[in-house]
Every structure is written in C-alpha cells, then in structure tokens.
Symmetry: D2
C-alpha cells in the first residue's frame, strides 16, 4: 500500500484534487498496489513570515471527492501539540482536528465501502474515538477499523511502554480493529520491530516520517525503507501481505 | 488552598484583573488560606451564536500581573480536545495552549518565588513538558514542580490504569515533582481515593469539576466536597496540610 | 464475611477439623455472617529447630470435609517465595501449592454450590489459573469466580502499579470474575483505598495480614480494622454488602 | 556467548563437574567465545515412576567449583510453578530456589570477578531480588548486574505487556543493570524482536528454550537459531557484540 501526500510543481504540500487524481491514475496504470490518501495535507509556510499555514477544514474535506477514488483513506484523529522535526515541523505547533472534521469524514468513507486509518499520535485519541463511537459516528465493533499507533509525532515518545499502553486501550475499546505502528525519525524501525513482535496488522515506513535506514545511513529512495521493514517482518517470521490480502482484511470495494 | 476563577456581576467567566484583586483581598482579610489563580479563565459563550469564545493569550497572560499576588498559580499545559460536561463543556472543543503561552508564564512564576500547577489532562502533556524542560524553560529536577493528573477532563478517563501510567511517566521525567489528582464529575472522589492511596501530595475537589458528593447527592456548597475529601484522606491515614506546610512544600515566598 | 484460621489450645495454627466445626457452629448460633475457611492452614514451627513446618496436602485437603460446611472457601493458588513479616513469616520461605492440591480442591468446591477465593499473591498466579482453566479444571467465564489481589505477601509490593497490572491481566483472562484486594502490614488500608476506588467487589482486612489502624496505632480487636475499612468504603461512596447480597453475588447455596 | 547444560553419556541432565570441565576445555581450545554455566542443572526422571527428580542444593552449588572457570554464571532466581513444554517440562511442577541457594551463589560469583545472569521468569523475582539486595547480598546499583526477562517459562506469557512491566520494575529497582530476553517455544523470536527494539543488552536463543525457526520450521542445529536472531538484531540496526565487548560490559576478569 502506498500512502500519498501531493506536492505542487514548486514542491509544496498541496490540496489540489487534480494533482491527486493524476497521481492515482499513473499508479493504477503501473501496478495494482493499494492507494491511500489522507486529508491531512500538511502545512505550508507563509512566504513572508515563515509561519505555518494550516489548511482549512474545507480544503481538507475536499480531498474526499477525489476521483478515481483511492482504496483507503487516513485521518488525523486528535487535537494535539504537533512536533515532528524529521518531517519539517521542528517547531511545536497546535494541530487542530475538530469533531466537525471527523464527523464529515468518517461516515462518508465507510459508506463508500472503504476504510480509514485513524492516526493515533497520542493515546488520548483512542479515548476520543470511543466517545465518537458512543455517539454513533461509527461502529466500535467493526472489524475493518484501522488504528495507527504513533511514536515521535506529537508528544508521545516511541517507547514500548507507550505503545503497549496505547494498543491495550485500543483493543479494550475497539476489540476487532486492525492496528499498525509508525515511528518518527530514527525510531521508525524500532517501532516496526515492536509492532510486528506484538502482532500488528500494518506498519508504516517512508520519507514522511523518517529518512534513516536502520544502520543510520540516509536512504535515497523510499523503497529502501520499505525493504528494510521487510527484513524485520520476515526476520520475525511474518509475511508481507498482497494487495488482495489487504482488500479482504479491510473489506474494500474493488477499485472503480 | 483555594483555587479561584473569577466571574463578573452577570456570573460569566471573567479575566478582569480587578475582580481577582478584590477576591484575593477579601480572602486574605478573612483567613490565611493559600490562594491559587490560573490563567485558564474558561470560555464564554457568544450571546448570538451560542458558540464558545476562548480568551486570547493576551487576556490570559494579564492574569500574571494580579496584585496582591496569589500564592500559587496554575496552567493548562497541553493542547487537547476538551470535553467536560460537568463543567459546562458538554460539546467537545479544541483547547489550545501554545508554547508561547507556556514560555511566557512559567519562567515568570518561578522567578517571583511561586510555583505553578501543571494541569495534565492527558499523559501527552507530561511528555510535552519534558521537551520544554529540555529546552531550558524550567528545571526538570526542581522539587517545587507541581503536576496535576486529571481524569475526565479532555479525553483521558478517570481510571486507575490511566492514572498509574500518567504518574509513572511523570515521576520518571520529573523525579522530584509534587503531584496531585482531580476527577471530573462522579469520578471526583474515586480519583481522590486512588491518588491518596498512591501517595499524592495534593487533591483538587470542588464545583469547578463536580457537584456530587460520594453518596451521589448534589452538594450545595463547595466546603461539603472538601469535607468529603477529608474523610477519605484521614480514612487512609493521612493528614490535611496546613497553609504553612504547603508554603514549605512548594518553597513559596511569604505573601506580600 | 469472616475468614477463619483455627488455632489449638496452645495458640498454634491447627488443621483439626473438629476445631473448625466448633467455630462454625458457634458463629452460626450467634449471627448470620458468612463464613469462609481456607486450606492454607499456615505453618507451625519445629519446637527444636525453630524451622517452619508446612502442613501436608493431605492435611490441607481434609479441611474440605468440615461439617457444617462453611459458606465459602479460599485457596492459596500459586507456588511462591512467601514473605510476610507482619504475619509471622519474617524469614522468606518457599510456599508450594501444587496442581494436585488445586485440582483436588476446585472442582469439589464448585460442585457443592460454593465458591473459592483464589489468593493471587503474585500476578503469575493469574496466568497459572488461566492454564488450569484451559485444562478444564474450572470455568474461566463463570461469574462467581473470586480473585484476591494481594500486596505485600510474597514478593509483590503493595503498589498501584502492581495492582493495576494484576487486575488488568485477571479481567482479560477471567472477564466475569469478582475481585478483591488485601494488603499486608501498613499497606492494608492503602490497598483497600485503591481497590475500592477501582471498583473491587471485596476487601480483606484483619489480624491475619496487619495489626495497624490507618493512623498507625495498633488495633486491639479485629473489628477495629473492619470499621476502619468501612470508613474508606463509605467515604468513596460505596456500601457494605449484607450476607444476602454476597450469597447472591457468589451464587451460594443456602447454609445447611 | 554460549550457555551450557551438561549431559551424561546417556543424554540425561548431569551435575557432574568433570563433564563441565571437559566441555569448557574443549570450547576454549577451539575459540574465544565466552562460556556461561548455571546451577540450574535441570531435572531427571525417576526411571521407575517417571516423576521429576530435582537436584539438591548441594549438587547445584557444587557447580560453582568448576575449573577451568566459566566466564559467566546464571541462576534461577525465584520459586515458581515451572512449566515449559518445549523444554520437556510438559507437566507443571514446583521449582524451588531457596534464599540459601541464592545467598551461597551470588557473593561467590561477584567475588571471583564474574557476574551472574538472574533468570527472572516471573516479575515477582525482580521484587524478591530487591529484598535480597536490601539485605546486603549484592549491590543493587552495580553496573554488571544481568537480568534475564523470560516469557513462556513458568507462568508468565511472552507478551509485550508482561515484558514492559517486568523491565520497568527492574529498571526502577536496579537502574544500572544490563538486561536480556528469552522466549520459550515459538515466542523465542518475537521476544528477541521486542527486546532488541526496547534496547536490551542480550538475547538468549537456542534449543534449551525452543527448536523452531521464525518461519515455523524446526532447526537442526543451534547455530541456525543464532543466525535467525542475528537477522533481527541487524534488521533493527544493532550489532552483535564480540567476546571482548562483553568482557568489558560485564567487567569480567580475563579467563584463567
């Protein structure tokens, strides 16, 4: 599966639906890999002040209308102090993800026969989602829920202690959900190791979160990071899923 | 110790320094109890739309200039999804507490010989504060740091599991800090019980967080909640501190 | 409920069934309190060497034949290094509780319409019991299982961290079980406070584990400790159960 | 490092010092690998009854006198219900490791300039060792202490939750100790993965605990399991230590 953020011709984060559509068409023409978009978009900097400019909810929700549709979606699911120096957020900044934003995204995604990766960069997001589920926004017991436990984005450190606590809370509250891990910066692969050893369903690696290979050298291409994850996954006796495996796991409608 | 939020003549949350000054003078005239103010202020509602109106950083920072000075301060220390139906926040809403706000408050408070209660309504705030301490904003090893672990405000539930995790992380990162507990709504007294049994230094009870006595009936006056806390504290073999005890514990300058 | 260990005329721990029968008859004649016996018995000392003499499995299993039957039973459920200076075990000593002993006790107790309190003085005992349940020795999902989490007997300290971990493991593996707490020595009442605040079903206090009241003075009679527990229980907004409540909770057959 | 249990000509576990001496001489003649013996020995079966026969403390302590001396030692440090079907203990059985045994082993090992791996098959053993350290049996703050956290021997399951809890308790009580992991049966490599991702100092793999490679096939030789561990270690960006590294880490006297 490939997780996509679009950039414009100048290399800046972009919310331009046309760019996303072009990316999806080109990938689909080349291979059958599953495609995930998010409505995180990411910030741009004000060219004058250098300050972060966050996209509006409107811009973010527009990404739900991309056609051809991606196979899966992702959503930043909590309001936090965001800090991710490896990803270009070397200054901590509030990252607001409102109930309105979640309530507009979630039912839509499930209705069109897809699923959404909940980015849980703090354990508090697990508890927030439980409240949303109690309000009927989505089904707490669905087996195609997908929870991504992070370490090193936001405030939560990439420790086994934090991961175990987060996964335990999630499994108590969403007992049938699939779950994955991500780690920012040099913790990317230790988080993969912990997650796989704990039986996670997905891992996320790549340049969005980190550029370093396990041995400390910088990767030149994203696929080097993917290969390094594969060594860990297979070293621990697991297998990498195929796109068809994942379609089944997440109960996805066939790509249109 | 008394924790104060001011209200104006209409009963709305107020940031008016004059009201705070009047309150402090009247309390000091009456007795020697320690006085704590915060710069949380609280929201008002837009009279037209009914939406929450949050105070600006400027309004909040102005509360540091109150004279006569309160004995201690308090600060909401993390950016979260705030939800506290017992306290009038029955709709979840983003609660932003910026680095700028913290960096303006903390050094000031320590410099004038007081201390500040860090409201940790999520464990992620502990980790955020560790980063601030690493940046030199305050001394991680100071013995007059004061950490308030909450349950039921924001997303974190008032469970022993969440409290133990939060206190463990805090004690690892701020080994000499004093710590306390608060619980929102009916969990107010179970949080007191857990905290005292775990050896906490302070407990917070009162109408800001809850109106119910342990037996489920509504208290009419704040002091009923304080008395109910006292029963638990003494039932567990502890004693209630005097103002002088607390001055020593928190290394406070004598009241001016 | 009263938890009974018998002593002979010389004041030594005794496995004499006749003494137990006499005790039960006298209590039943006096009041309707529920009666619990265990087959722990406790050690005696060799009058010559001063070394501990542990009762044999045979002696211990004989206590299942007491008539009139007690209402409930108790069993030391794991093999551990026992250390309980407040209880007269000031030298650590191996405490062996074999599978044979458990397999002889458990089905018998459930068959006669009673239940048994599993003494979990280490979290490892929770995991051992899960294995026994997997082998069919008792029903893991029964709602009249009764788990007693201890602190300060054996190696496990009376901390919130240890208690939360033990209760979490127990609730994951025995989701419908009732549970209680005990603490040895001065931790007796802090364990009661934690347990009640966490929603436990039973607490155990008394001279077997501790002689000190919460304020640090020595109790002269067992009922002083019971009253001190009652202050905590009611201070936290709970009520003390009646014998009839407990008969229902534990699905006990009426006393013969 | 190689961890040795001796067998006699019939293939049974043996406490014969001469066999150990022969093994050590042959290994030293062949290469510079570090050699660890334990005084666990292991059980034999009574040829008539089939029951386990445990070695006496005397037999076990005799293994401290092996000459040439091994480089490091190991000790089963707690009394537990032992259960290890992969290791031939398919029936649970009490495994007693007395204070006398520990107090006779530990000071001796540290005095001769070696160190000892404490086998912590339950977290309760961490707490027991803290009590022994408080009694002066060994130095709690020494930096050459060596703690082995196990999953799947005894009652403790090979979960991340159990491992994190055990390591946290150990690091709180023995802050400078080195630590490692082992897993029984098919959990051998998931425990390695968790341990390495958490920053452990040593991992233990081999036929004593498990015969399966990560992919589920049975290994024919011990070194296949070692190689599989190496893939995980290097996949997570760590390096395998040399004997000289380990001598320094554990502050070992040069081999005599």
């Amino acid at each position: 599966m490939v997780h996509i953020h679009a950039r414009d011709a100048q290399g800046n984060n972009s919310s331009d639906v046309a760019i996303y559509q072009d990316i999806i068409r080109r990938i689909r023409a080349a291979c059958g890999i599953l495609i995930q978009t998010t409505n995180g978009i990411g910030v741009r900097r004000d060219p004058k002040t250098g300050e972060f400019l966050w996209p509006s909810d409107e811009d973010r929700l527009a990404l739900l209308t991309i056609v051809p549709k991606p196979d899966l979606y992702g959503i930043a699911a909590g309001t936090i102090d965001f800090y991710h120096p490896e990803g270009g957020y070397e200054v901590e900044t509030p990252y607001v993800n409102t109930q309105h934003f979640l309530k507009s995204t979630l039912p839509h995604v499930f209705k069109i026969g897809s699923t959404v990766e909940f980015e849980l960069v703090e354990v508090s997001v697990v508890h927030r989602l439980a409240r949303l589920a109690d309000q009927g926004v989505f089904d707490r017991n669905a087996s195609n829920l997908w929870m991504l436990h992070g370490g090193g984005l936001g405030n939560t450190p990439p420790t086994a202690r934090a991961l175990v606590y987060s996964v335990d809370e999630q499994q108590r509250l969403f007992p049938n959900a699939k779950w994955g891990v991500l780690g920012a910066g040099k913790a990317q692969f230790t988080m993969v190791g912990m997650g796989v050893a704990m039986g996670c369903d997905t891992v996320r690696v790549g340049f969005e979160d980190n550029i370093y290979l396990p041995n400390g050298s910088a990767a030149k291409r994203n696929h080097e990071l993917v290969r390094a994850a594969r060594v860990i996954i297979e070293g621990l006796g697991c297998e990498v899923a195929t796109p068809d495996d994942l379609r089944q796991t997440f109960q996805l409608r066939p790509a249109a």
